[in-house]
């Protein structure tokens, strides 16, 4: 295969990789301390402040970069939790669905629960959780993971139902592999694709929900830099003609979500080309 085609495969992941990198090293490389006054208040971009300063004099650029951490971290945790639990559950439900006995019943009941969870909007769940438990990263992560897990379960289950009757599973039994090993070695790789594609959606959605909660004032308190919070205080600035305090966090948010979508689309394309059915 041409080298250029090989490289081109990975290009869509670059934005997300850069974002993750920034989230990791951001706090160490930004020009100014994100929670300290850096200069005169409300200066437009220029003069050493790439994105200008906000109404308290903090550097918008540094804050925008550092804020990536919080949103991306939560998105990562939620995505990992939803997928790491959802995929195995989907496999178990899918493999045991038609069987008689308790496992089969569990499988069918599980599907009903998954269908119900579709109608619930993620943001409202976030609002209610914050309302009942306060704005802690832990409770929000758990709540979002629980809300978004059913989709991963359902997507995996559908694939497993297709794969369940494939003859290579019989051949694997003939080769002496135990049921557990067969699940991991054969069922999992052949049924995980839709869940992986959906993972990028879960990632993007988590970013949006955490930023929305921040925007609504239900998330972390200022001066902790968080995109939603920055946008919220930026709205009043916009009306005073100071557009930069809201614009850059909003742009960053859009870029972050778009990167996740691009990565997701790339995963779809990649796995389609390597599926040899």
């Amino acid at each position: 295969m041409l080298v250029t085609t090989r490289i081109r495969r990975w290009v869509p992941f670059i934005p997300l990789a850069v974002l993750v990198l920034l989230a990791l090293i951001g706090p160490f490389v930004v020009p100014f301390q994100p929670e300290r006054v850096a200069g005169a208040a409300a200066r437009p971009p220029g003069d050493g402040f790439l994105f200008g300063t906000d109404s308290t004099g903090m550097d918008v650029f540094s804050r925008t970069i550092v804020a990536a951490r919080i949103n991306l971290l939560m998105a990562l945790l939620v995505t990992l939790a939803a997928t790491a639990f959802g995929v195995p559950l989907g496999m178990v439900i899918g493999m045991n669905e038609a069987r008689r006995g308790p496992l089969g019943w569990f499988g069918r009941a599980g599907t009903r629960v998954v269908d119900l969870s579709d109608a619930v909007p993620a943001l409202i769940v976030g609002v209610v959780v914050v309302g009942l438990f306060g704005a802690s990263m832990a409770s929000l992560t758990v709540a979002l993971a629980i809300l978004l897990m059913p989709n991963q379960i359902r997507l995996t289950r559908v694939e497993v139902l297709k794969v369940r009757h494939d003859a290579y599973l019989d051949a694997a039994r003939m080769a002496g592999l135990s049921n557990g090993r067969i699940m991991v070695r054969h069922v999992l790789p052949n049924s995980v694709r839709p869940a992986l594609e959906n993972a990028s959606f879960v990632f993007g959605l988590s970013i949006i929900v955490s930023a929305s909660l921040g925007f609504l004032g239900l998330g972390l308190r200022p001066p902790t830099p968080e995109w939603g919070v920055m946008i919220a205080s930026g709205v009043s600035d916009v009306m005073l003609g100071r557009w930069w305090t809201a614009l850059f966090p909003a742009l960053a948010l859009c870029v972050a979500v778009a990167s996740a979508s691009a990565a997701g689309a790339a995963i779809t394309r990649l796995s389609r080309s390597t599926a040899r059915r």
């Binding site: 579709d118 438990f133 949006i208 929305s212 609504l216 930026g234 709205v235």
Partner: protein, 348 residues
């Protein structure tokens, strides 16, 4: 004779009778959900820095409706539902139902315009795409469709605001539904409808101006989702035998397109229905951004004051709105496609 008529209309009668059952069912699910989540909302609401006496706890529990066993609470909840009594808000002291009901219509109206616009836009895009099969326009449209996923609506709104307000001064400032000083007439509770009914044209114009950007953002964000469903349905519908039959029997282009759309519409209609309920909740961010009032402020206040009953009421009403939306969608679907009516045996 009457029984005959009843039998023919069985499909919508049954579905209508099922609606209150669904609402009650989901309200009950909500009841359990907010209670079975781990943690104690009463404790969260109290300031525990100096210790809590049992009396304080009990008083707070009663105020939140959380005293007594869970079955007692459920009984009170159901009794309340029948009378539309969702408890009293700890913020304003007024009944929660009144608080929500007074804000619901403007929220519903906003979602209506946003979703309705998105549906229309999807149909336009669908028509365009049927004509344009190649070229840069095609790829741009397809790229847009792929965005049917997570899009941050309020971030887009900010971008739009900076561009159209700060830079171009095309839209008004995001400070409310109408220009300051104007009063919105109240007849039905739906602001735009009320303006039309009372002939307050200047208020109407101001309102349209203020709603332009938020509704545009909603259309931009929701169209890909609806369109994706619509496109999937279109693919099926275009290739179906019914379409081929129409073409073969010499129907006009418009008639063919209409019949395709009618059959493809089903899955899109279902999507719109499920989105409606979710959006009545999800639009609170845009409402805050543009100071449009509605349910957003109520929800936020309930969270900030840990008004448990307020939050519960909010969820219950959301669930009810969703059920009603599903109901409307079902009826529309059954009208569009007789095969979907219960009790009909047909090749589907």
């Amino acid at each position: 004779m009457i029984l005959d008529a009843l039998g023919r209309h069985r499909w919508w009668i049954t579905r209508t009778l099922a609606l209150p059952v669904h609402i009650a069912g989901f309200a009950t699910v909500t009841f359990f959900l907010v209670r079975l989540v781990p943690g104690d909302p009463v404790l969260s609401a109290l300031d525990s820095s100096q210790g809590i006496t049992p009396e304080q706890y009990h008083r707070a529990a009663v105020a939140m409706g959380l005293d007594g066993s869970i079955w007692r609470q459920l009984g009170r909840f159901w009794a309340g539902l029948v009378h539309l009594d969702l408890g009293t808000s700890s913020v304003t002291g007024r009944p929660i139902w009144v608080e929500i009901w007074s804000r619901l219509p403007e929220t519903v109206e906003l979602v209506f315009f946003g979703l309705g616009g998105a549906v229309l836009f999807s149909m336009v895009l669908g028509a365009v795409l049927l004509q344009v099969r190649t070229g840069p326009a095609y790829w741009a449209l397809r790229g847009y469709a792929r965005m049917a996923g997570a899009v941050p609506d309020f971030a887009l709104a900010i971008l739009g605001l900076v561009l159209l307000y700060s830079a171009l001064r095309v839209v008004p400032a995001p400070i409310g539904r109408v220009d300051p000083g104007m009063e919105i007439p109240v007849v039905t509770g739906f602001p735009i409808l009320d303006c039309l009914l009372t002939g307050e044209w200047s208020v109407l114009a101001s309102m349209v101006g203020h709603l332009l950007l938020p509704v545009a953002v909603m259309i931009l964000v929701y169209t890909p989702i609806i369109w994706k469903q619509f496109a999937l349905g279109l693919d099926d519908s275009v290739a179906s035998p019914a379409t081929l039959f129409r073409i073969a029997s010499g129907a006009t282009r418009a008639a063919i397109y209409l019949s395709i759309v009618r059959r493809a519409g089903a899955s899109a209609v279902v999507m719109v229905g499920s989105m409606f309920g979710a959006l009545v909740g999800g639009v609170i961010v845009l409402q805050q951004l543009f100071s449009l009032g509605g349910l957003s402020q109520f929800a936020i206040d309930s969270v900030n004051t840990v008004d448990f009953l307020g939050l519960q009421g909010f969820l219950v009403v959301l669930a009810a709105v969703s059920m009603i939306a599903f109901f409307a969608v079902d009826i529309v679907n059954m009208l569009l496609d007789p095969r979907r009516r219960p009790g009909v045996n047909a090749e589907g």
